[in-house]
């Protein structure tokens, strides 16, 4: 799974999520099938469950909306534990919750098996516009540099007694952000000159010559086929 060409994984993950989003929300059992499919992938790729679980918390803000809907929607009401809930709202909330969760889990599976550098390679092989992959490559190369500068500036502020607790104290942070922008922008100008002096022609060299074997595509798309089968089952069931 980790050695599968990146473009296969990106395409498979995207199509998999499309399958999940397309399925009717009343096909409850089908969502269990998707979950089992993901668990199978995790087992094959040996991704620790804790890694996935910790990062899936990112979804929480939307759980709030999903919980809110049963109360906010109109239509037929359902009595449950003394609460009057909307049947339509319950279904809508369930829809957001389960599809959002499966989407987050799929994206995390992709992130766990594919370093971002490889994803760029995959995008390049999928014939994404060169300008896009070039900007993304440079962005990723410099994220750590810029984030490191931001961290050092924060440390410098804190060591000089900076401790804002209210928005109106955030002036120093903002000036820091301004300085960070200037440093990034001026660094960009220097990077451009450095690239020119090394013979920059306007396009990144191909990062790798390796061709993707049809076998890899078939392997990756097997999982998509399973997801598609589940989606069709969902449509037949409802």
């Amino acid at each position: 799974m980790h050695r599968l060409p990146p473009e296969v994984k990106v395409v498979a993950a995207f199509l998999g999520v499309v399958c999940v989003v397309a399925v009717p929300r009343e096909a409850f059992a089908v969502f269990g099938g998707y979950f089992l499919l993901l668990v199978a992938v995790w087992a094959l790729a040996r991704i620790p469950l804790g890694w996935i679980a910790r990062r899936s918390l990112i979804e929480l803000p939307f759980v709030v909306l999903a919980v809110l809907l049963p109360f906010a929607e109109g239509g037929a009401r359902v009595e449950w534990l003394g609460l009057s809930l909307s049947a339509e709202g319950l279904l809508a909330g369930w829809n957001i919750l389960i599809k959002g969760t499966l989407g987050v889990l799929t994206s995390l599976t992709l992130a766990a098996t594919t370093p971002l550098r490889d994803m760029l390679l995959g995008m390049q092989r999928l014939h994404a516009p060169a300008i896009l992959t070039t900007i993304a490559t440079l962005m990723l190369r410099y994220i750590d540099v810029i984030a490191g500068e931001a961290r050092r500036m924060r440390l410098a502020r804190i060591s000089r007694g900076h401790d804002p607790r209210f928005l109106w104290q955030a002036g120093a942070t903002a000036r820091g952000v301004g300085a960070l922008f200037l440093r990034s922008y001026e660094r960009g100008e220097r990077v451009h000159l450095a690239m020119l002096s090394r013979g920059w022609t306007g396009a990144m060299p191909q990062l790798s010559d390796a061709r993707t074997a049809p076998r890899d595509w078939i392997y990756g798309l097997t999982f998509v086929a399973a997801a598609l089968l589940l989606t069709v089952t969902g449509f037949v069931m409802t």
Partner: protein
């Protein structure tokens, strides 16, 4: 590769739509619109930056990414981080800015599962296009005010950021109305999203105003909004250097 994001209460995450919030056909349509929008942005960005496009946009995108890791306080106990739409629109222009925000969103979706893969199109529309271009429109409308200096520029940046954030949340409500799960609760979703983002917008506005002010004080030539404005020579008194940055 990228450092862990700080674990504060990141309010703005509420804007990153997840999968399943919008149905599949609507997501597809917004994906298509986002791709077309990005193509236009690439074309226009090349006119702004010529052959410098790649390194400059790459570095500004890295800057946006780093900025989103800096938390600032909103209320005691709750902190948010900058979305940066209005900020990059005013500093580097809407075309380069929209590319940078879209890239940051894509990386967040791929690396942190922050925002769904099918919802990436809608997220790009909301934050890289609606929010950013609403901000830019406000900023251009108030350009004369901004060119007057200090307070005018700060007021312009504040309004641009505030209206941009609220505009982006209206984009969310629009998409939810077209392809969302619930229909009768639209009023609730509307008031929740717009109310929440009005609060976020105030924070975003203050930080944006102060940041643009700080940049304009040092390198006014870099502020895209102020391009073409005559720069008066200023006499500045000798001031003690401030110790706010290393």
């Amino acid at each position: 590769m990228v450092a862990e994001r700080s674990k504060g209460v990141a309010v703005s995450i509420a804007m990153h739509m997840s999968d399943g919030l919008i149905n599949a056909p609507t997501s597809g349509v917004f994906w298509a619109i986002a791709v077309i929008g990005l193509a236009v942005s690439f074309y226009k960005a090349r006119q702004d930056l010529t052959d410098r496009t790649a390194p400059m946009a790459g570095l500004v995108a890295a800057f946006v990414f780093a900025v989103q890791m800096i938390n600032f306080p909103i209320l005691p106990g709750a902190s948010g981080h900058l979305l940066g739409g209005a900020l990059v629109a005013i500093l580097v222009g809407p075309w380069v800015g929209s590319i940078c925000i879209a890239l940051v969103l894509a990386v967040q979706a791929l690396l942190f599962a922050d925002g769904g893969l099918t919802a990436l199109g809608t997220n790009i529309i909301n934050m890289a296009f609606i929010g950013l271009f609403v901000s830019w429109g406000v900023a251009v409308a108030l350009r004369r005010l901004a060119q007057r200096g200090g307070v005018g520029l700060a007021a312009t940046a504040f309004l641009a950021a505030f209206i941009g954030v609220v505009g982006a949340s209206l984009g969310f409500v629009l998409e939810y109305a077209i392809g969302g799960a619930g229909v009768t609760s639209l009023g609730t979703v509307f008031s929740l999203m717009v109310g929440l983002h009005a609060l976020i917008g105030i924070g975003e506005g203050i930080i944006t105003a102060l940041t643009v002010g700080a940049v304009a004080a040092i390198r006014p030539d870099l502020v895209y909004l102020l391009r073409g404005a005559p720069q008066d020579l200023q006499l500045r008194g000798a001031r003690q250097p401030e110790g706010s940055s290393s």
